[in-house]
């Protein structure tokens, strides 16, 4: 049996009804699956649909189970494994608060510039940066900021979409 741990990004289209997120999260915790990140928001107001993006990891058999278990939930319309289905785009947004004076402050600004982060707030002793990119990009930026006075961090988790003209 294949025991390599794979990371998969799964898009799930669900009815935007009370409890649906609890159902999805309960499924993961109840069955011991990993959630690396999970994002959710309404995507179609008139049809009452929300889209959940889950980044998870597990053996191929577990990943297959996760998809089957998700599909089985009554309010779930579609389950797509973007990782398996081919090239796709992933983006995450982070808000990063860095505090400090002098060289470190200048260095933080310089690096933010290199990463194309946007300054959302500035005081004489702090910045709040906004950075959008792949989760790996964010990891690298945040790692650098740690050394330059990171005081607070907020991340959205990944959203994702397949490349090409096909819809979900």
């Amino acid at each position: 049996m294949d025991t390599t741990i794979e990371r998969h990004t799964i898009a799930v289209l669900v009815d935007n009804e009370p409890g649906v997120l609890a159902r999805v999260i309960g499924l993961f915790s109840g069955r011991g699956y990993n959630i690396e990140s999970l994002t959710v928001a309404e995507v179609e107001r008139d049809r009452g649909l929300s889209r959940i993006t889950i980044v998870t990891s597990g053996t191929p058999m577990i990943i297959e189970q996760i998809k089957a278990q998700l599909s089985r939930l009554v309010p779930v319309h579609k389950v797509r494994d973007l990782t398996e289905e081919g090239p796709h785009i992933e983006r995450e947004l982070a808000l990063v608060k860095v505090a400090g004076m002098g060289d470190k402050r200048i260095e933080a600004l310089r690096i933010a510039d290199i990463f194309k982060a946007v300054v959302l707030d500035a005081t004489l002793s702090s910045f709040v940066f906004e950075l959008t990119g792949t989760s790996d990009d964010l990891d690298r930026f945040i790692e650098l900021m740690r050394q330059l006075g990171l005081v607070e961090l907020s991340r959205t988790g990944a959203v994702a979409m397949s490349r090409g003209s096909e819809g979900l």
Partner: protein, 586 residues
């Protein structure tokens, strides 16, 4: 269409009637009084008053399992709902269609820790197939109809509808089931033809085949069992059933190898271990069936037919997964088989049968014949003789008696065997027998019980009396939690921690106290009379059969062992102590 305005409570009753519901199992309370009021003012639907909400669900399960219909439950908020949780979980694990209505505090009080408030949808989310909290009376009819659709389609299961009291009083529009269609929930039932053709080919080419079928065949309806029997006979192949699948294939037939799994027969388990093609239909490779996973049927190609895609490749990798309803699969497979008339390897099959007969010759279910004590197996053999040819439904509690009942009673037809397989719920049997008896008033409904289990829902004797249900409780009384004692004996160095019942009621007097009939057998010579009287008495009966206290249930595949490491009897010890990994398994 002219709109029909009704109160929420009336909408519930009307929707149930339109869904063809004839009976509700329930227990009243403050948060469902409007519905009870509506029940009072109609005659179409009968309400059966149980004595505990857990029993309401088990009774509905017994009703559903023995009829193929959806079982309906009505309980109040708070404790009513929490008491129902065990039953709901039981129904989820055994895929029994249930619709359970729970009362809830009025909408404006939800979240206030109101009297008898609990987060019913939160609590029941993981133990139902789906649940609803109704917040708008105009959605109520749709939700009830949808709930029935969800409960019975695909892999069946329990659905909860949580109904705040103000919604039950409010006026709303009623819509009939013909106007309701679920937005998305349409499980695949028709299998992919190309895959079925491939399956037929694999089946035809097999040299050492076995059919391994489960509760899915029963759930698929009686026709699925008939088609299975046809296919098995057409091929001449051996067949084994899971605990939940008993009755799908006639037990008395030569091709039937008995139940498989932890307490399955030697021949069934060894055939599973040694087969080259395994045809799993409506069975789910449960850990009680597979034993040690990495030693499970190592040399076979596996075909798995299941209506629930999440059952496929969950624990065992299969070679040919087929998503679909068992009946639809069997029908298609038979049609293809007849069309192609494949030639099977008769010599290989004959050799396989010779091997199986050798295993069968071990007579793995034999036990010591004695007059000294009543052996529990003997009691069941006598029961088997007495119910032969009768219109009988058997339920069980959980423990050794359950496994012996599965091994020794003859299940020739589907829907006549009611047992808690997935959850293993002590206390299931009596209410389940009551549910079956409600559905089949003239049938013989027997709960094969243990003296420990029966005490978990003994209060239901009152229900049986109230509705004059002649259910029989056949207690194999060994004074021990026998199955616990057996594990302690075999796996925990004979340290019998808390498994002996120091104080037991006098079951004869107990039966009488409830208004029923109590009987007792302590000697083999008394057994036949007691069974005969039990069957002939048209009232609720408890038969206290005092059996050997030390008997163990064999064969047994100890936890963490493979099928071919099956123990046949007390003379075979565990050899090298069970490996630690086996010990931790339940």
């Amino acid at each position: 269409m002219s709109e029909t305005h009704l109160t929420g409570a009336e909408i519930v009753l009307r929707a149930l009637r339109d869904q063809g519901v004839e009976v509700i199992f329930g227990y009243p309370g403050g948060a469902v009084l409007p519905i009870y009021d509506a029940i009072f003012r109609q005659n179409a639907i009968r309400h059966i008053l149980v004595r505990h909400e857990q029993a309401a669900v088990h009774a509905a399960e017994g009703y559903a399992r023995s009829t193929g219909k959806v079982g309906v439950v009505l309980v109040t908020s708070g404790p009513g709902a929490t008491n129902a949780v065990t039953g709901l979980t039981d129904a989820l694990l055994d895929s029994i269609p249930i619709v359970c209505l729970t009362g809830q505090v009025p909408t404006h009080l939800i979240g206030n820790d109101a009297f008898q408030e609990c987060d019913t949808t939160g609590i029941t989310r993981p133990c139902t197939k789906h649940n609803y909290l109704v917040k708008d009376v105009n959605q109520l009819a749709r939700i009830v109809h949808e709930a029935f659709h969800v409960a019975r389609s695909g892999r069946p299961g329990p659905v909860v509808i949580d109904l705040p009291k103000d919604i039950q009083f409010a006026d709303g529009v009623y819509v009939g089931p013909e106007h309701v269609q679920h937005k998305t929930y349409r499980p695949q039932t028709k299998p992919d033809r190309a895959k079925v053709e491939q399956a037929v080919e694999m089946i035809a080419r097999a040299k050492r085949p076995i059919f391994y079928t489960g509760g899915g065949v029963i759930n698929s309806g009686p026709r699925a069992s008939a088609l299975l029997t046809e296919l098995v006979r057409l091929t001449g192949y051996p067949v084994t059933n899971t605990l939940m699948g008993l009755g799908a294939y006639p037990a008395s037939d030569r091709q039937f190898l008995g139940m498989l799994g932890m307490h399955g027969t030697y021949e069934a388990n060894l055939a599973m271990h040694g087969c080259d093609v395994m045809v799993a239909i409506g069975s789910r490779f449960d850990d009680r069936v597979t034993g040690r996973l990495n030693a499970f049927s190592p040399g076979s190609a596996k075909i798995h037919v299941d209506i629930d895609p999440s059952s496929i490749n969950k624990s065992v990798r299969v070679d040919l997964p087929i998503v679909g309803d068992c009946e639809a699969f069997l029908e298609m497979a038979l049609e293809i088989w007849r069309e192609r008339k494949p030639r099977i390897d008769k010599d290989a099959l004959a050799a396989w049968w010779r091997q199986i007969e050798e295993w069968r010759a071990k007579r793995c279910l034999s036990y010591e014949k004695t007059d000294r004590v009543i052996k529990p197996q003997y009691a069941l053999e006598r029961l088997r003789e007495h119910i032969r040819g009768k219109d009988a439904y058997i339920s069980t509690e959980v423990g050794q008696h359950q496994m012996w009942a599965a091994q020794f009673l003859p299940f020739e037809e589907p829907n006549r065997w009611l047992t808690s397989g997935g959850l293993g719920t002590m206390g299931y049997g009596l209410p389940a027998a009551i549910g079956a008896q409600i559905a089949h008033p003239n049938a013989l409904c027997i709960d094969v019980a243990g003296e420990a289990s029966i005490l978990m829902n003994i209060q239901e004797m009152s229900t049986a009396l109230q509705y004059r249900l002649p259910v029989k409780v056949f207690i194999l009384n060994n004074q021990w939690m026998g199955m616990v004692r057996q594990w302690q004996e075999l796996l925990h160095g004979e340290r019998y921690s808390e498994s002996y019942s120091e104080a037991l009621p006098d079951f004869v007097k107990l039966a009488e106290a409830f208004g029923g009939v109590g009987l007792r057998a302590t000697k083999t010579s008394e057994l036949d009379d007691v069974i005969r009287t039990m069957i002939e008495t048209p009232r609720p009966v408890i038969a206290d059969i005092c059996v050997d206290q030390k008997e163990n249930c064999f064969p047994m595949i100890p936890g963490g062992k493979a099928h071919n490491e099956i123990l046949l009897g007390p003379s075979e010890t565990l050899g090298e102590a069970t490996p630690e990994e086996g010990m931790v398994l339940v």
